[in-house]
Symmetry: C2
Subunit: 477 residues, 2 copies
């Protein structure tokens, strides 16, 4: 008897023999057909029970969600819909599931309801598919960087500096919350705190990643980052995962090459490894879209959208060209954009990014050379003195998915920019050291992992692509 | 001309041709031999400069730490110590490094000094080897789980519960640090905080990992965890990375099999992939040990220690047997142990664990079935009513490296244990749900990643195996 997983039993090369499997009941119909799932695949294996051979009390306990242990013969299926099935000879209930109270019944549940039961939602097809894809994507990312000579680096989560200014931060402290110690000036005395200074949760590992790129050459981070912004939208999380490669001796053009190659690699990888999960989610989306008016439906199906990225060259366009295109575009002239584009210097919104990708160029787009004053201090200033070597990659349906830049490698220019933004040099002495000792051109980018999972799964609320989302007023589980 | 990395140029199959490479100067001697490193390997490539062909001002700028761009012919080396070298035809200084102020000179620096310059310490052989090994270990871990049907799961970093009681926690807040809002009872009103309740940094992802194991079957986490303990030792960090697999339908024996197979796999993987780094660190250790008295030196070299784990079966011993062995042991009778073992129920210290591994069994040891009252509430109670299905894996030189258990799957027993420890059921309603709906035997373990990196690299201070250590009074960089 072979102890097996459902995935192995359903595999094309599975031997027809006596088998043993454990899993959870998805459905049980006609007192005969038990659909068993163990998480190893989207699909269930049909277990056929001859009810005359089993005790009635036992059969009553075969309810949705119950954990069961099954032995029997794997045989060719007589019925439609499956190649093989198990003729059950032994059945044991490992854990019951009371059908009166079990939340995950075999019917359609709203995503809102499932978010409240996030500890059980991977017992549904949709969320098990999403989380399997999330896992495969994560592995594909590590594999890509490993194959291309990058070192994985764990940048710190708790940081002592608010230098990057990427957004509101969470304070990390062990001081008494009500009566913190005060210093002579009457301010909270963070010298008494665990780290001897005020500390926060990181917003990015980039600056630390630069330190390692400037010795190890090619590195990447893949860790949690945080924003304490009170934005309760379907696109924002307070805690999310970010991938940040950083490469010495690489300029912005190399950065674009890397990002394009990387994105295509991971998308190809999941097409090859998670076809069933993708097909299921594609079908789910198609059915969801049937309820929408024609003009709101996507032009591309889920898998077509992935292939659209894989098969097309990413079009490289300067910010300045993009502004010209947008200013002259029909939706701009007809004021169909919520934010009408008038002048050079405007920050682009998702509607503009999607117009460029979906309507104008009809391919993924890399915008680059942005105005300096809408981008971060560490980006390399161009010779024109007003743009920086920044790039954003825009995808269909989602807009910006990657943001990166060539970093300012010139000590004096960097100091000037920091001074203009009142960033004290003492805060970033180590970052400046990289420009003092053996400085060189270097570049990198950041990819919000959950944005990628949304793109790949077609889920439209970011809360549905991370196991336990952290958002304003919500840190359940 | 081929743009290359130092690793590729030093590879056995490297073609002798015109090449181009960028990197940092490690040393420059006799105005002729430039040792170049770019992080792609421990080794430097020798670049031979005919000083008569280059400007003297340029040659003066070839200093340790400077970034350079080199072109030339890759040729067989005339000298000893290297197979190939570059005959330099073009040299450009990308970034100078002032020898008067550059901290990383080609001489021995203390680890304390390098910790203060952690942003530059990977420019030394020791730390670049350590961090390359850390990266390879990280990849090997993902690869092992991926090949064995596990899903990678990102458990939350910010948590709303202090249920596990694994130690002191860091509070995460956006409330005004000095004047937080108070509620009617005069306590800090965390309802006003970002998440609407008091939140902390996670101490473990295990409980959440269990939720996914009970639907997806086999999962693992690999994320940062935190302890706000004021212990300033060479073995503790406030922020460290942990690997936690969790598997449905797996009992404690299966858990031991998994942990042993896993540890052997990752150690084999680094022996195969990072031989040069390991050899370098082994040599470093040998030289360091020469300064120690004979009795303090290790019996095994670094690589021998890794092979000791790979080649030996892990001996499985109950806690009760171990106590008997320790009680009757020579160091116990002679009171050479700092903590003398008298009675069943004693918590084992590192000295006892190392005695069992290094002196008594002479192989890695798995201790199991520990007294319930020295272990966590979620561990499965044995039929004897006083021990739990816990296991610790003990390694030479380091003691405990893995801790795991079979989890209590019985609702009523779990509730009783929680009640005895005053853990409110409302806090862990979702954890209890796993026992209400389709419960089953399941198990998992935790591996502190930095402990593993210490074991593999032979570094004796945990601050030296993570890029930017977080310890009491220290959150620099």
């Amino acid at each position: 008897m072979i102890k097996s997983t459902v995935a192995a039993l359903l595999a094309e090369n599975a031997k027809l023999q006596d088998v043993e499997v454990k899993g959870w009941v998805r459905t049980f119909r006609a007192n005969r057909f038990l659909a068993l799932n163990d998480g190893s695949t989207l699909n269930n294996i049909q277990c056929v029970i001859d009810f005359e051979q089993f005790d009635e009390a036992l059969l009553k306990r075969i309810t949705t969600g119950a954990a069961v242990h099954i032995k029997g013969a794997l045989v060719e299926s007589q019925g439609k819909g499956q190649r093989v099935e198990i003729q059950v000879s032994f059945l044991n209930i490992l854990g019951d599931s009371d059908p009166e109270t079990y939340p995950i019944q075999p019917k359609k549940h709203s995503f809102e309801f499932l978010r409240e039961n996030a500890h059980l939602r991977t017992r549904t097809n949709t969320f098990s598919a999403v989380m399997r894809l999330r896992s495969t994507l994560s592995f594909a990312i590590h594999k890509y960087f490993n194959e291309n000579g990058f070192y994985h680096m764990h940048t710190p989560i708790i940081t002592g500096s608010d230098a990057e200014g990427a957004g509101e931060m969470f304070r990390v402290s062990v001081l008494d919350a009500k009566n913190p110690p005060l210093n002579d000036e009457g301010k909270v005395d963070f010298k008494e705190d665990f780290f001897g200074k005020e500390t926060n949760l990181t917003v990015s590992g980039q600056l630390e990643a630069e330190t390692y790129a400037m010795s190890l050459g090619k590195v990447y981070t893949f860790g949690p980052t945080f924003r304490a912004e009170n934005s309760n939208t379907s696109r924002h999380l307070a805690e999310f995962w970010m991938i940040e490669p950083e490469v010495a001796f690489m300029d912005l053009a190399g950065n674009m090459d890397l990002a394009e190659d990387f994105m295509k690699y991971v998308l190809k990888y999941i097409l090859e490894h998670n076809a069933e999960d993708l097909q299921f989610l594609e079908q789910r989306l198609l059915e969801e879209e049937k309820t929408k008016p024609q003009e709101e439906r996507s032009e591309l199906s889920l898998i077509e959208k992935l292939k659209f990225v894989i098969d097309n060259n990413f079009k490289r366009v300067t910010y300045t060209e993009a502004i010209d295109i947008l200013r002259d575009s029909k939706p701009n002239k007809k004021k169909q954009f919520k934010y009408v584009i008038n002048d050079w210097g405007a920050d682009l919104q998702s509607e503009h990014e999607r117009f460029l990708v979906e309507k104008h160029f009809k391919c993924p787009v890399i915008l680059f050379d942005y105005p300096a004053n809408i981008k971060a201090f560490y980006m390399r200033l161009n010779e024109d003195g007003k743009t920086v070597r920044a790039m954003d990659i825009l995808f269909p349906g989602i807009g910006e998915i990657v943001g990166g830049s060539q970093r300012e490698e010139r000590l004096e220019v960097l100091k000037e920019k920091m001074a203009a933004l009142n960033i004290p040099e003492e805060e970033l002495w180590w970052y400046l050291d990289l420009r003092k000792y053996g400085t060189a051109v270097h570049s990198g980018f950041g990819l919000g992992f959950e944005r990628l999972v949304m793109f790949v799964t077609g889920m439209t609320n970011i809360r549905d692509v991370i196991p336990y989302p952290r958002t304003p007023q919500n840190a359940e589980f």
